[in-house]
Symmetry: C2
Subunit: 331 residues, 2 copies
Protein backbone atom coordinates (compact mmCIF):
# COMPACT_ATOMS: atom_id res chain seq x y z
CA UNK A 1 0.00 0.00 0.00
CA UNK A 2 2.87 2.43 0.55
CA UNK A 3 4.71 1.62 -2.63
CA UNK A 4 3.89 3.55 -5.75
CA UNK A 5 5.61 6.75 -4.62
CA UNK A 6 8.63 6.35 -6.90
CA UNK A 7 8.88 9.46 -9.05
CA UNK A 8 5.71 10.96 -7.57
CA UNK A 9 5.80 14.69 -6.92
CA UNK A 10 4.93 15.26 -3.29
CA UNK A 11 4.85 18.35 -1.10
CA UNK A 12 4.62 18.54 2.68
CA UNK A 13 3.43 21.70 4.43
CA UNK A 14 4.77 21.88 7.96
CA UNK A 15 7.54 19.71 6.57
CA UNK A 16 10.06 20.69 9.24
CA UNK A 17 7.70 19.63 11.99
CA UNK A 18 8.11 16.39 13.89
CA UNK A 19 5.75 14.36 11.73
CA UNK A 20 6.45 16.28 8.52
CA UNK A 21 10.19 15.70 8.60
CA UNK A 22 9.72 11.98 9.32
CA UNK A 23 7.33 11.78 6.36
CA UNK A 24 9.83 13.62 4.13
CA UNK A 25 12.59 11.15 4.96
CA UNK A 26 10.33 8.19 4.28
CA UNK A 27 9.02 9.61 0.98
CA UNK A 28 12.58 10.25 -0.19
CA UNK A 29 13.43 6.64 0.73
CA UNK A 30 10.53 5.50 -1.44
CA UNK A 31 11.92 7.43 -4.40
CA UNK A 32 9.40 10.26 -4.41
CA UNK A 33 10.27 13.81 -5.45
CA UNK A 34 9.80 15.65 -2.18
CA UNK A 35 9.32 19.36 -1.50
CA UNK A 36 9.25 20.50 2.10
CA UNK A 37 7.48 23.76 2.96
CA UNK A 38 7.74 25.44 6.34
CA UNK A 39 7.83 28.96 7.76
CA UNK A 40 10.44 31.33 6.33
CA UNK A 41 12.78 33.29 8.53
CA UNK A 42 15.46 32.14 10.95
CA UNK A 43 14.71 28.54 11.89
CA UNK A 44 14.41 27.50 15.55
CA UNK A 45 17.09 24.98 16.57
CA UNK A 46 14.85 21.92 16.29
CA UNK A 47 13.64 22.83 12.79
CA UNK A 48 17.20 23.67 11.72
CA UNK A 49 18.36 20.25 12.87
CA UNK A 50 15.50 18.55 11.05
CA UNK A 51 16.31 20.45 7.88
CA UNK A 52 19.94 19.42 8.11
CA UNK A 53 18.89 15.80 8.45
CA UNK A 54 16.72 15.83 5.33
CA UNK A 55 18.11 13.77 2.44
CA UNK A 56 19.89 15.88 -0.20
CA UNK A 57 17.21 15.07 -2.77
CA UNK A 58 14.52 16.84 -0.72
CA UNK A 59 13.78 20.41 -1.86
CA UNK A 60 13.34 22.95 0.93
CA UNK A 61 11.01 25.88 0.24
CA UNK A 62 10.50 28.44 2.97
CA UNK A 63 6.90 29.66 2.59
CA UNK A 64 4.17 30.63 5.02
CA UNK A 65 1.04 28.63 4.12
CA UNK A 66 -0.89 31.88 4.60
CA UNK A 67 1.04 33.32 1.61
CA UNK A 68 -1.36 31.79 -0.89
CA UNK A 69 0.06 33.19 -4.14
CA UNK A 70 3.52 31.84 -3.40
CA UNK A 71 2.23 28.56 -1.98
CA UNK A 72 -0.02 27.99 -5.01
CA UNK A 73 2.99 28.12 -7.28
CA UNK A 74 4.56 25.34 -5.23
CA UNK A 75 1.38 23.24 -5.10
CA UNK A 76 0.52 23.32 -8.79
CA UNK A 77 3.07 20.77 -10.08
CA UNK A 78 2.42 18.25 -7.27
CA UNK A 79 0.73 14.86 -7.37
CA UNK A 80 0.13 14.64 -3.61
CA UNK A 81 0.11 17.40 -1.00
CA UNK A 82 0.43 16.37 2.64
CA UNK A 83 -1.02 19.32 4.53
CA UNK A 84 0.55 19.10 7.98
CA UNK A 85 1.11 22.81 8.68
CA UNK A 86 -0.81 23.64 11.83
CA UNK A 87 -1.00 25.44 15.08
CA UNK A 88 -1.19 22.36 17.33
CA UNK A 89 -1.64 23.68 20.86
CA UNK A 90 -4.98 23.63 22.71
CA UNK A 91 -3.94 26.56 24.84
CA UNK A 92 -2.41 28.35 21.88
CA UNK A 93 -5.70 28.22 20.02
CA UNK A 94 -7.54 29.75 22.98
CA UNK A 95 -4.92 32.47 23.48
CA UNK A 96 -4.76 33.51 19.82
CA UNK A 97 -8.05 32.50 18.18
CA UNK A 98 -7.62 34.48 14.98
CA UNK A 99 -4.08 33.26 14.37
CA UNK A 100 -5.31 29.72 14.91
CA UNK A 101 -8.13 30.29 12.42
CA UNK A 102 -5.74 31.63 9.80
CA UNK A 103 -3.22 28.82 10.11
CA UNK A 104 -5.56 25.92 10.73
CA UNK A 105 -8.32 26.79 8.28
CA UNK A 106 -8.13 29.99 6.26
CA UNK A 107 -4.82 29.12 4.59
CA UNK A 108 -6.12 25.71 3.51
CA UNK A 109 -9.36 27.17 2.17
CA UNK A 110 -7.36 29.69 0.13
CA UNK A 111 -5.16 26.89 -1.23
CA UNK A 112 -8.16 24.75 -2.22
CA UNK A 113 -9.67 27.73 -3.96
CA UNK A 114 -6.38 28.37 -5.79
CA UNK A 115 -6.27 24.73 -6.99
CA UNK A 116 -9.86 24.64 -8.16
CA UNK A 117 -9.37 25.86 -11.76
CA UNK A 118 -6.19 23.87 -12.47
CA UNK A 119 -6.34 21.18 -15.11
CA UNK A 120 -4.34 18.80 -12.95
CA UNK A 121 -4.81 19.11 -9.22
CA UNK A 122 -2.89 17.44 -6.42
CA UNK A 123 -4.48 15.01 -4.02
CA UNK A 124 -4.73 16.55 -0.53
CA UNK A 125 -3.99 14.50 2.58
CA UNK A 126 -4.88 16.58 5.63
CA UNK A 127 -3.87 15.96 9.22
CA UNK A 128 -6.92 16.64 11.37
CA UNK A 129 -7.27 15.69 15.01
CA UNK A 130 -9.50 13.77 17.41
CA UNK A 131 -10.12 17.20 18.95
CA UNK A 132 -12.86 17.71 16.36
CA UNK A 133 -15.01 15.37 18.51
CA UNK A 134 -14.62 17.08 21.86
CA UNK A 135 -15.61 14.81 24.74
CA UNK A 136 -16.27 11.18 23.88
CA UNK A 137 -19.94 10.19 23.86
CA UNK A 138 -18.88 6.55 23.92
CA UNK A 139 -15.52 4.81 23.65
CA UNK A 140 -13.77 4.20 21.39
CA UNK A 141 -14.97 7.22 19.40
CA UNK A 142 -16.20 6.31 15.92
CA UNK A 143 -16.67 8.62 12.96
CA UNK A 144 -20.43 8.46 13.64
CA UNK A 145 -20.06 10.65 16.73
CA UNK A 146 -21.33 14.19 16.19
CA UNK A 147 -18.35 16.57 16.43
CA UNK A 148 -18.60 19.02 19.31
CA UNK A 149 -15.12 20.51 19.71
CA UNK A 150 -14.04 21.85 23.09
CA UNK A 151 -11.34 24.13 21.76
CA UNK A 152 -10.75 26.39 18.80
CA UNK A 153 -8.30 24.00 17.16
CA UNK A 154 -11.08 21.46 17.05
CA UNK A 155 -13.50 23.98 15.50
CA UNK A 156 -11.01 25.10 12.87
CA UNK A 157 -9.76 21.61 11.98
CA UNK A 158 -13.39 20.53 11.61
CA UNK A 159 -14.07 23.45 9.26
CA UNK A 160 -11.00 22.43 7.25
CA UNK A 161 -12.24 18.84 7.01
CA UNK A 162 -15.65 20.05 5.88
CA UNK A 163 -14.11 22.28 3.21
CA UNK A 164 -11.96 19.39 1.94
CA UNK A 165 -15.07 17.22 1.71
CA UNK A 166 -17.03 20.00 0.00
CA UNK A 167 -14.33 20.63 -2.61
CA UNK A 168 -14.26 16.90 -3.31
CA UNK A 169 -18.06 16.66 -3.66
CA UNK A 170 -18.62 19.85 -5.62
CA UNK A 171 -15.43 20.24 -7.66
CA UNK A 172 -14.05 16.71 -7.78
CA UNK A 173 -10.84 17.45 -5.90
CA UNK A 174 -9.23 14.38 -4.38
CA UNK A 175 -8.98 14.89 -0.62
CA UNK A 176 -8.86 12.92 2.60
CA UNK A 177 -8.53 13.86 6.27
CA UNK A 178 -6.94 11.74 8.98
CA UNK A 179 -7.87 12.45 12.58
CA UNK A 180 -4.62 11.98 14.43
CA UNK A 181 -4.44 11.20 18.11
CA UNK A 182 -1.21 11.41 20.14
CA UNK A 183 1.86 10.93 17.98
CA UNK A 184 5.27 10.39 19.57
CA UNK A 185 8.69 9.24 18.45
CA UNK A 186 12.29 10.20 17.74
CA UNK A 187 12.77 13.82 16.81
CA UNK A 188 9.69 15.13 18.59
CA UNK A 189 9.78 18.29 20.66
CA UNK A 190 10.49 17.28 24.27
CA UNK A 191 10.65 20.81 25.61
CA UNK A 192 7.43 22.55 24.58
CA UNK A 193 4.45 21.61 26.75
CA UNK A 194 2.18 22.97 24.01
CA UNK A 195 3.23 20.20 21.64
CA UNK A 196 1.42 17.55 23.65
CA UNK A 197 1.64 15.46 26.76
CA UNK A 198 3.67 12.59 25.28
CA UNK A 199 6.68 14.81 24.52
CA UNK A 200 6.44 16.54 27.86
CA UNK A 201 6.56 13.26 29.78
CA UNK A 202 9.41 11.80 27.74
CA UNK A 203 11.34 15.06 28.11
CA UNK A 204 10.88 15.02 31.89
CA UNK A 205 12.02 11.39 32.04
CA UNK A 206 15.11 12.05 29.93
CA UNK A 207 16.08 15.07 32.02
CA UNK A 208 15.61 13.05 35.21
CA UNK A 209 12.72 15.24 36.37
CA UNK A 210 9.57 13.91 38.04
CA UNK A 211 6.81 13.16 35.52
CA UNK A 212 3.96 15.56 36.20
CA UNK A 213 0.53 14.13 35.42
CA UNK A 214 -2.71 16.10 35.50
CA UNK A 215 -5.06 13.48 36.92
CA UNK A 216 -3.31 10.61 35.18
CA UNK A 217 -6.22 8.26 34.49
CA UNK A 218 -7.21 9.87 31.15
CA UNK A 219 -6.75 7.23 28.49
CA UNK A 220 -5.36 8.12 25.07
CA UNK A 221 -4.23 6.29 21.97
CA UNK A 222 -0.54 6.83 21.44
CA UNK A 223 0.74 6.27 17.92
CA UNK A 224 4.39 5.82 17.13
CA UNK A 225 5.51 8.20 14.40
CA UNK A 226 6.39 5.46 11.88
CA UNK A 227 2.83 4.16 12.12
CA UNK A 228 1.41 7.62 11.47
CA UNK A 229 3.75 8.13 8.51
CA UNK A 230 2.53 4.77 7.19
CA UNK A 231 -1.08 5.96 7.56
CA UNK A 232 -0.34 9.17 5.64
CA UNK A 233 1.37 7.24 2.85
CA UNK A 234 -1.58 4.86 2.54
CA UNK A 235 -4.02 7.77 2.54
CA UNK A 236 -2.03 9.48 -0.20
CA UNK A 237 -2.14 6.41 -2.44
CA UNK A 238 -5.71 5.32 -1.87
CA UNK A 239 -7.55 7.59 -4.31
CA UNK A 240 -10.89 5.92 -3.69
CA UNK A 241 -10.87 7.49 -0.22
CA UNK A 242 -12.17 10.90 -1.15
CA UNK A 243 -13.67 13.68 0.87
CA UNK A 244 -14.00 11.83 4.11
CA UNK A 245 -12.38 12.06 7.51
CA UNK A 246 -10.93 8.90 9.11
CA UNK A 247 -9.84 8.20 12.65
CA UNK A 248 -6.41 6.92 13.47
CA UNK A 249 -5.96 5.24 16.84
CA UNK A 250 -4.28 2.40 18.64
CA UNK A 251 -5.62 -1.04 19.59
CA UNK A 252 -4.28 -0.56 23.14
CA UNK A 253 -5.33 2.77 24.65
CA UNK A 254 -3.22 3.71 27.65
CA UNK A 255 -3.76 6.09 30.53
CA UNK A 256 -1.20 8.82 31.11
CA UNK A 257 -0.21 6.95 34.27
CA UNK A 258 0.41 3.78 32.22
CA UNK A 259 2.40 5.87 29.74
CA UNK A 260 4.57 7.13 32.60
CA UNK A 261 4.92 3.64 34.07
CA UNK A 262 5.99 2.25 30.69
CA UNK A 263 8.63 4.97 30.52
CA UNK A 264 9.62 3.92 34.02
CA UNK A 265 10.57 0.47 32.75
CA UNK A 266 13.10 2.09 30.40
CA UNK A 267 14.43 4.91 32.58
CA UNK A 268 14.36 5.66 36.29
CA UNK A 269 11.42 8.01 36.82
CA UNK A 270 9.29 9.36 39.64
CA UNK A 271 5.65 10.20 39.01
CA UNK A 272 3.81 13.24 40.41
CA UNK A 273 0.05 13.16 40.13
CA UNK A 274 -1.32 16.71 40.48
CA UNK A 275 -4.81 18.19 40.24
CA UNK A 276 -5.86 19.77 36.95
CA UNK A 277 -5.20 23.50 36.57
CA UNK A 278 -8.58 25.16 36.00
CA UNK A 279 -7.84 26.51 32.51
CA UNK A 280 -6.79 23.05 31.32
CA UNK A 281 -9.70 21.23 32.95
CA UNK A 282 -12.09 23.45 31.00
CA UNK A 283 -10.76 22.24 27.65
CA UNK A 284 -9.64 18.71 28.53
CA UNK A 285 -11.72 16.10 26.74
CA UNK A 286 -11.32 13.40 29.42
CA UNK A 287 -10.84 9.80 28.21
CA UNK A 288 -10.43 10.02 24.48
CA UNK A 289 -9.41 7.31 22.07
CA UNK A 290 -10.65 6.40 18.66
CA UNK A 291 -11.91 3.46 16.65
CA UNK A 292 -9.73 3.29 13.54
CA UNK A 293 -11.43 0.24 11.98
CA UNK A 294 -12.91 2.26 9.13
CA UNK A 295 -9.47 3.40 8.01
CA UNK A 296 -8.10 -0.10 8.60
CA UNK A 297 -10.76 -1.63 6.35
CA UNK A 298 -10.15 0.96 3.65
CA UNK A 299 -6.35 0.79 3.59
CA UNK A 300 -5.16 -2.16 5.66
CA UNK A 301 -3.42 0.18 8.10
CA UNK A 302 -2.76 -1.19 11.57
CA UNK A 303 -0.29 0.16 14.15
CA UNK A 304 2.88 -1.93 14.27
CA UNK A 305 4.30 -0.45 17.48
CA UNK A 306 2.91 -0.97 20.95
CA UNK A 307 3.73 1.68 23.52
CA UNK A 308 6.72 -0.14 25.03
CA UNK A 309 8.43 -0.74 21.69
CA UNK A 310 7.64 2.77 20.44
CA UNK A 311 9.02 4.41 23.57
CA UNK A 312 12.10 2.21 23.35
CA UNK A 313 12.75 3.42 19.79
CA UNK A 314 12.16 6.99 20.88
CA UNK A 315 14.66 6.83 23.71
CA UNK A 316 17.20 4.83 21.73
CA UNK A 317 17.45 7.72 19.25
CA UNK A 318 18.57 10.09 22.00
CA UNK A 319 22.38 10.17 22.33
CA UNK A 320 22.25 11.09 26.02
CA UNK A 321 20.08 8.14 27.00
CA UNK A 322 21.25 4.63 27.68
CA UNK A 323 18.25 2.38 27.34
CA UNK A 324 18.41 -0.77 29.45
CA UNK A 325 17.69 -4.17 27.95
CA UNK A 326 13.96 -4.73 28.14
CA UNK A 327 12.66 -6.72 31.10
CA UNK A 328 9.13 -6.64 29.73
CA UNK A 329 7.53 -8.78 27.09
CA UNK A 330 6.39 -6.97 23.96
CA UNK A 331 2.63 -7.26 23.87
CA UNK B 1 -41.85 36.14 26.61
CA UNK B 2 -41.07 39.14 24.40
CA UNK B 3 -41.70 41.75 27.07
CA UNK B 4 -38.86 42.82 29.29
CA UNK B 5 -37.10 44.82 26.58
CA UNK B 6 -38.12 48.23 27.95
CA UNK B 7 -34.95 50.23 28.55
CA UNK B 8 -32.71 47.34 27.51
CA UNK B 9 -29.66 48.25 25.45
CA UNK B 10 -29.75 46.23 22.26
CA UNK B 11 -27.61 46.23 19.13
CA UNK B 12 -28.34 44.59 15.79
CA UNK B 13 -25.55 43.83 13.32
CA UNK B 14 -26.87 43.66 9.79
CA UNK B 15 -29.55 45.97 11.13
CA UNK B 16 -30.44 47.40 7.73
CA UNK B 17 -31.10 43.94 6.34
CA UNK B 18 -34.60 42.62 5.83
CA UNK B 19 -34.81 40.80 9.14
CA UNK B 20 -32.60 43.24 11.04
CA UNK B 21 -34.67 46.28 10.20
CA UNK B 22 -37.89 44.46 11.14
CA UNK B 23 -36.31 43.51 14.46
CA UNK B 24 -35.18 47.10 15.06
CA UNK B 25 -38.69 48.44 14.57
CA UNK B 26 -40.15 45.85 16.93
CA UNK B 27 -37.51 46.43 19.62
CA UNK B 28 -38.14 50.18 19.46
CA UNK B 29 -41.88 49.50 19.84
CA UNK B 30 -41.08 47.48 22.95
CA UNK B 31 -39.20 50.42 24.46
CA UNK B 32 -35.67 49.09 24.02
CA UNK B 33 -32.68 51.30 23.33
CA UNK B 34 -31.74 50.16 19.83
CA UNK B 35 -28.49 50.57 17.92
CA UNK B 36 -28.40 49.43 14.32
CA UNK B 37 -25.05 48.54 12.74
CA UNK B 38 -24.58 47.95 9.05
CA UNK B 39 -21.92 48.51 6.39
CA UNK B 40 -20.59 52.06 6.03
CA UNK B 41 -20.43 53.80 2.69
CA UNK B 42 -23.19 54.86 0.32
CA UNK B 43 -26.25 52.76 1.09
CA UNK B 44 -28.00 50.76 -1.64
CA UNK B 45 -31.58 51.93 -2.26
CA UNK B 46 -33.22 49.18 -0.23
CA UNK B 47 -31.00 49.77 2.83
CA UNK B 48 -31.49 53.53 2.51
CA UNK B 49 -35.25 53.06 2.50
CA UNK B 50 -35.06 50.78 5.54
CA UNK B 51 -32.91 53.30 7.38
CA UNK B 52 -35.39 56.07 6.61
CA UNK B 53 -38.20 53.94 8.01
CA UNK B 54 -36.45 53.30 11.33
CA UNK B 55 -38.05 55.03 14.32
CA UNK B 56 -36.27 58.24 15.33
CA UNK B 57 -35.18 56.68 18.62
CA UNK B 58 -33.05 54.05 16.86
CA UNK B 59 -29.33 54.91 16.67
CA UNK B 60 -27.65 54.20 13.32
CA UNK B 61 -23.95 53.32 13.40
CA UNK B 62 -22.24 52.55 10.11
CA UNK B 63 -19.58 49.93 10.92
CA UNK B 64 -18.22 46.88 9.12
CA UNK B 65 -18.43 43.92 11.52
CA UNK B 66 -14.91 43.03 10.34
CA UNK B 67 -13.69 46.30 11.90
CA UNK B 68 -13.36 44.73 15.33
CA UNK B 69 -11.88 47.67 17.28
CA UNK B 70 -14.70 50.00 16.24
CA UNK B 71 -17.37 47.33 16.61
CA UNK B 72 -16.15 46.39 20.08
CA UNK B 73 -16.70 49.95 21.26
CA UNK B 74 -20.32 49.69 20.12
CA UNK B 75 -20.84 46.23 21.67
CA UNK B 76 -19.46 46.96 25.11
CA UNK B 77 -22.40 48.92 26.58
CA UNK B 78 -25.05 46.51 25.26
CA UNK B 79 -27.30 44.07 27.12
CA UNK B 80 -28.21 42.00 24.04
CA UNK B 81 -26.49 41.77 20.66
CA UNK B 82 -28.47 40.33 17.78
CA UNK B 83 -25.78 39.19 15.33
CA UNK B 84 -27.54 39.14 11.97
CA UNK B 85 -24.71 40.47 9.76
CA UNK B 86 -24.02 37.80 7.15
CA UNK B 87 -23.24 36.90 3.63
CA UNK B 88 -26.42 34.94 2.91
CA UNK B 89 -26.01 33.55 -0.60
CA UNK B 90 -25.14 29.90 -1.32
CA UNK B 91 -23.56 30.83 -4.62
CA UNK B 92 -21.89 33.88 -3.12
CA UNK B 93 -20.15 31.69 -0.56
CA UNK B 94 -18.82 29.42 -3.29
CA UNK B 95 -17.68 32.30 -5.48
CA UNK B 96 -15.88 34.18 -2.70
CA UNK B 97 -14.95 31.67 0.00
CA UNK B 98 -12.58 33.89 1.95
CA UNK B 99 -14.95 36.84 2.02
CA UNK B 100 -17.66 34.48 3.26
CA UNK B 101 -15.34 33.19 5.98
CA UNK B 102 -14.47 36.69 7.13
CA UNK B 103 -18.06 37.94 7.29
CA UNK B 104 -19.77 34.78 8.50
CA UNK B 105 -17.22 33.58 11.05
CA UNK B 106 -13.99 35.51 11.54
CA UNK B 107 -15.69 38.79 12.46
CA UNK B 108 -17.82 37.05 15.08
CA UNK B 109 -14.85 35.19 16.56
CA UNK B 110 -12.96 38.49 16.83
CA UNK B 111 -15.95 40.10 18.54
CA UNK B 112 -16.31 37.24 21.04
CA UNK B 113 -12.63 37.50 21.82
CA UNK B 114 -12.96 41.26 22.30
CA UNK B 115 -15.86 40.76 24.76
CA UNK B 116 -14.16 38.06 26.78
CA UNK B 117 -12.36 40.26 29.35
CA UNK B 118 -15.21 42.73 29.91
CA UNK B 119 -16.80 42.86 33.34
CA UNK B 120 -20.29 43.03 31.83
CA UNK B 121 -20.79 41.24 28.53
CA UNK B 122 -23.78 41.31 26.21
CA UNK B 123 -25.87 38.26 25.47
CA UNK B 124 -25.33 37.13 21.85
CA UNK B 125 -28.23 35.94 19.72
CA UNK B 126 -26.86 34.59 16.46
CA UNK B 127 -28.76 33.87 13.26
CA UNK B 128 -27.46 30.58 11.91
CA UNK B 129 -29.09 28.57 9.15
CA UNK B 130 -30.47 25.13 8.40
CA UNK B 131 -27.62 24.99 5.85
CA UNK B 132 -25.37 23.77 8.66
CA UNK B 133 -27.08 20.38 8.25
CA UNK B 134 -26.63 19.91 4.51
CA UNK B 135 -28.94 17.26 3.13
CA UNK B 136 -31.61 15.92 5.47
CA UNK B 137 -30.93 12.43 6.85
CA UNK B 138 -34.55 12.24 7.94
CA UNK B 139 -37.38 14.75 7.95
CA UNK B 140 -38.06 16.96 9.73
CA UNK B 141 -34.42 17.62 10.63
CA UNK B 142 -33.80 17.64 14.39
CA UNK B 143 -30.81 19.08 16.21
CA UNK B 144 -29.57 15.49 16.66
CA UNK B 145 -28.60 15.26 12.97
CA UNK B 146 -24.86 15.42 12.41
CA UNK B 147 -24.08 18.63 10.49
CA UNK B 148 -22.61 18.04 7.04
CA UNK B 149 -22.87 21.35 5.21
CA UNK B 150 -23.04 21.35 1.42
CA UNK B 151 -21.82 24.90 0.98
CA UNK B 152 -19.32 27.24 2.56
CA UNK B 153 -21.99 29.30 4.28
CA UNK B 154 -23.01 26.17 6.12
CA UNK B 155 -19.41 25.43 7.13
CA UNK B 156 -18.78 28.95 8.35
CA UNK B 157 -22.10 29.34 10.17
CA UNK B 158 -21.43 26.02 11.88
CA UNK B 159 -17.99 27.21 12.99
CA UNK B 160 -19.64 30.36 14.34
CA UNK B 161 -22.19 28.31 16.29
CA UNK B 162 -19.41 26.16 17.72
CA UNK B 163 -17.40 29.19 18.79
CA UNK B 164 -20.48 30.71 20.47
CA UNK B 165 -21.01 27.45 22.36
CA UNK B 166 -17.34 27.23 23.29
CA UNK B 167 -17.23 30.79 24.63
CA UNK B 168 -20.34 30.01 26.67
CA UNK B 169 -18.87 26.79 28.09
CA UNK B 170 -15.34 28.00 28.73
CA UNK B 171 -15.79 31.69 29.52
CA UNK B 172 -19.41 31.90 30.65
CA UNK B 173 -20.60 34.19 27.86
CA UNK B 174 -24.34 34.08 27.30
CA UNK B 175 -24.98 32.97 23.71
CA UNK B 176 -27.60 31.23 21.62
CA UNK B 177 -27.88 30.35 17.92
CA UNK B 178 -31.09 30.05 15.94
CA UNK B 179 -31.02 28.04 12.72
CA UNK B 180 -33.28 30.00 10.42
CA UNK B 181 -34.99 28.47 7.43
CA UNK B 182 -36.69 30.55 4.69
CA UNK B 183 -37.82 33.92 6.00
CA UNK B 184 -40.13 36.12 3.91
CA UNK B 185 -42.28 39.18 4.43
CA UNK B 186 -42.75 42.88 3.74
CA UNK B 187 -39.53 44.73 3.02
CA UNK B 188 -37.58 41.76 1.74
CA UNK B 189 -35.42 41.96 -1.36
CA UNK B 190 -37.53 40.86 -4.33
CA UNK B 191 -34.85 41.53 -6.94
CA UNK B 192 -31.74 39.63 -5.85
CA UNK B 193 -31.88 35.90 -6.59
CA UNK B 194 -29.04 35.41 -4.09
CA UNK B 195 -31.26 36.42 -1.21
CA UNK B 196 -33.35 33.29 -1.47
CA UNK B 197 -36.07 31.64 -3.46
CA UNK B 198 -39.04 33.12 -1.58
CA UNK B 199 -38.15 36.68 -2.56
CA UNK B 200 -37.43 35.68 -6.14
CA UNK B 201 -40.83 34.04 -6.59
CA UNK B 202 -42.75 36.89 -4.95
CA UNK B 203 -40.83 39.39 -7.09
CA UNK B 204 -41.64 37.49 -10.27
CA UNK B 205 -45.31 37.33 -9.30
CA UNK B 206 -45.48 41.03 -8.51
CA UNK B 207 -43.82 41.98 -11.80
CA UNK B 208 -46.21 39.70 -13.71
CA UNK B 209 -43.38 37.38 -14.80
CA UNK B 210 -43.65 33.59 -14.94
CA UNK B 211 -42.48 31.95 -11.68
CA UNK B 212 -39.37 29.94 -12.46
CA UNK B 213 -38.97 26.83 -10.29
CA UNK B 214 -35.93 24.57 -10.27
CA UNK B 215 -37.61 21.20 -9.87
CA UNK B 216 -40.40 22.55 -7.69
CA UNK B 217 -41.06 19.61 -5.39
CA UNK B 218 -38.38 20.52 -2.81
CA UNK B 219 -40.19 21.20 0.47
CA UNK B 220 -39.13 24.02 2.74
CA UNK B 221 -40.37 25.66 5.89
CA UNK B 222 -41.29 29.25 5.16
CA UNK B 223 -41.39 31.57 8.15
CA UNK B 224 -43.10 34.94 8.05
CA UNK B 225 -40.78 37.69 9.25
CA UNK B 226 -42.88 38.63 12.30
CA UNK B 227 -42.59 35.05 13.54
CA UNK B 228 -38.81 35.11 13.15
CA UNK B 229 -38.58 38.46 14.94
CA UNK B 230 -40.64 36.90 17.73
CA UNK B 231 -38.18 33.97 17.90
CA UNK B 232 -35.21 36.34 18.13
CA UNK B 233 -36.87 38.34 20.90
CA UNK B 234 -37.63 35.19 22.88
CA UNK B 235 -34.08 33.92 22.39
CA UNK B 236 -32.69 37.25 23.60
CA UNK B 237 -34.75 37.15 26.81
CA UNK B 238 -34.36 33.47 27.69
CA UNK B 239 -30.98 33.52 29.44
CA UNK B 240 -31.21 29.86 30.43
CA UNK B 241 -30.74 28.98 26.75
CA UNK B 242 -27.00 29.21 26.56
CA UNK B 243 -24.48 27.96 24.07
CA UNK B 244 -26.80 25.83 22.05
CA UNK B 245 -28.17 25.97 18.53
CA UNK B 246 -31.94 25.67 17.98
CA UNK B 247 -33.94 25.03 14.84
CA UNK B 248 -36.69 27.31 13.72
CA UNK B 249 -39.21 25.87 11.29
CA UNK B 250 -42.86 25.78 10.37
CA UNK B 251 -45.53 23.20 11.23
CA UNK B 252 -46.62 23.11 7.57
CA UNK B 253 -43.67 22.60 5.19
CA UNK B 254 -44.50 23.53 1.62
CA UNK B 255 -42.97 22.64 -1.72
CA UNK B 256 -41.80 25.45 -3.96
CA UNK B 257 -44.65 24.53 -6.28
CA UNK B 258 -47.14 24.91 -3.41
CA UNK B 259 -45.52 28.23 -2.57
CA UNK B 260 -46.05 29.37 -6.17
CA UNK B 261 -49.63 28.07 -6.19
CA UNK B 262 -50.39 29.90 -2.94
CA UNK B 263 -49.09 33.08 -4.56
CA UNK B 264 -51.33 32.24 -7.51
CA UNK B 265 -54.39 32.55 -5.29
CA UNK B 266 -53.43 36.15 -4.52
CA UNK B 267 -52.09 37.29 -7.91
CA UNK B 268 -52.36 36.01 -11.45
CA UNK B 269 -49.22 33.92 -12.06
CA UNK B 270 -47.88 31.34 -14.48
CA UNK B 271 -45.46 28.68 -13.29
CA UNK B 272 -42.40 27.45 -15.23
CA UNK B 273 -40.81 24.25 -13.94
CA UNK B 274 -37.24 24.00 -15.28
CA UNK B 275 -34.41 21.51 -14.71
CA UNK B 276 -31.76 22.37 -12.14
CA UNK B 277 -28.69 24.22 -13.43
CA UNK B 278 -25.69 22.01 -12.65
CA UNK B 279 -23.93 24.43 -10.30
CA UNK B 280 -27.09 24.79 -8.19
CA UNK B 281 -27.89 21.09 -8.14
CA UNK B 282 -24.46 20.42 -6.65
CA UNK B 283 -25.19 22.53 -3.59
CA UNK B 284 -28.96 22.12 -3.29
CA UNK B 285 -29.93 20.23 -0.14
CA UNK B 286 -33.15 18.72 -1.60
CA UNK B 287 -36.16 18.51 0.77
CA UNK B 288 -35.18 20.39 3.88
CA UNK B 289 -37.34 21.44 6.78
CA UNK B 290 -36.73 21.41 10.46
CA UNK B 291 -38.25 20.24 13.72
CA UNK B 292 -38.50 23.30 15.96
CA UNK B 293 -40.03 21.53 18.96
CA UNK B 294 -36.91 21.97 21.09
CA UNK B 295 -37.06 25.74 20.72
CA UNK B 296 -40.82 25.65 21.20
CA UNK B 297 -40.48 23.77 24.50
CA UNK B 298 -37.76 26.13 25.70
CA UNK B 299 -39.48 29.41 24.82
CA UNK B 300 -43.09 28.75 23.82
CA UNK B 301 -42.40 30.00 20.30
CA UNK B 302 -44.78 28.81 17.60
CA UNK B 303 -45.31 30.35 14.14
CA UNK B 304 -48.49 32.44 14.01
CA UNK B 305 -48.61 32.83 10.23
CA UNK B 306 -49.40 30.12 7.75
CA UNK B 307 -48.08 30.60 4.22
CA UNK B 308 -51.30 32.06 2.82
CA UNK B 309 -51.66 34.67 5.53
CA UNK B 310 -47.97 35.54 5.47
CA UNK B 311 -47.94 36.00 1.70
CA UNK B 312 -51.09 38.09 1.96
CA UNK B 313 -49.38 40.42 4.45
CA UNK B 314 -46.31 40.56 2.25
CA UNK B 315 -48.23 41.57 -0.85
CA UNK B 316 -50.52 43.96 1.00
CA UNK B 317 -47.46 46.01 1.99
CA UNK B 318 -46.57 46.62 -1.66
CA UNK B 319 -48.18 49.82 -2.97
CA UNK B 320 -48.29 48.55 -6.55
CA UNK B 321 -50.21 45.37 -5.72
CA UNK B 322 -53.93 45.08 -5.22
CA UNK B 323 -54.53 41.91 -3.26
CA UNK B 324 -57.91 40.27 -3.92
CA UNK B 325 -60.15 39.20 -1.08
CA UNK B 326 -59.16 35.69 -0.06
CA UNK B 327 -61.14 32.82 -1.54
CA UNK B 328 -59.26 30.28 0.55
CA UNK B 329 -59.76 29.29 4.15
CA UNK B 330 -56.88 30.05 6.50
CA UNK B 331 -55.53 26.72 7.68
Amino acid sequence: MTDGYRGRRTLITGGLGFLGSALAVRLADLGAQVTVVDLPGPLPALQRARREQLPATVAWQPCDVCDTPRLAGLLEPQDVVFWLAAQVSHIGSMEAPLADLDVNYRSLLAALEACRPWRSRPRFVFTSTRQVYGRAESLPITEAQRPRPVDLIGIHKLAAEQALRLYAEVYGLSTVSLRLTNTYGPGMDFDDPRKGVAGVLIGQAVRGEPLTLFGGEQRRDFNFVDDVVDALLRAGRCDELSGDGFNLGHPQPRSLREFAETLGRLLPVSIDIVPFPAERQAIDPGDSYCDFSRFQRATGWFPQYDLASGLRETLAALPQVSVPQPDYSLA
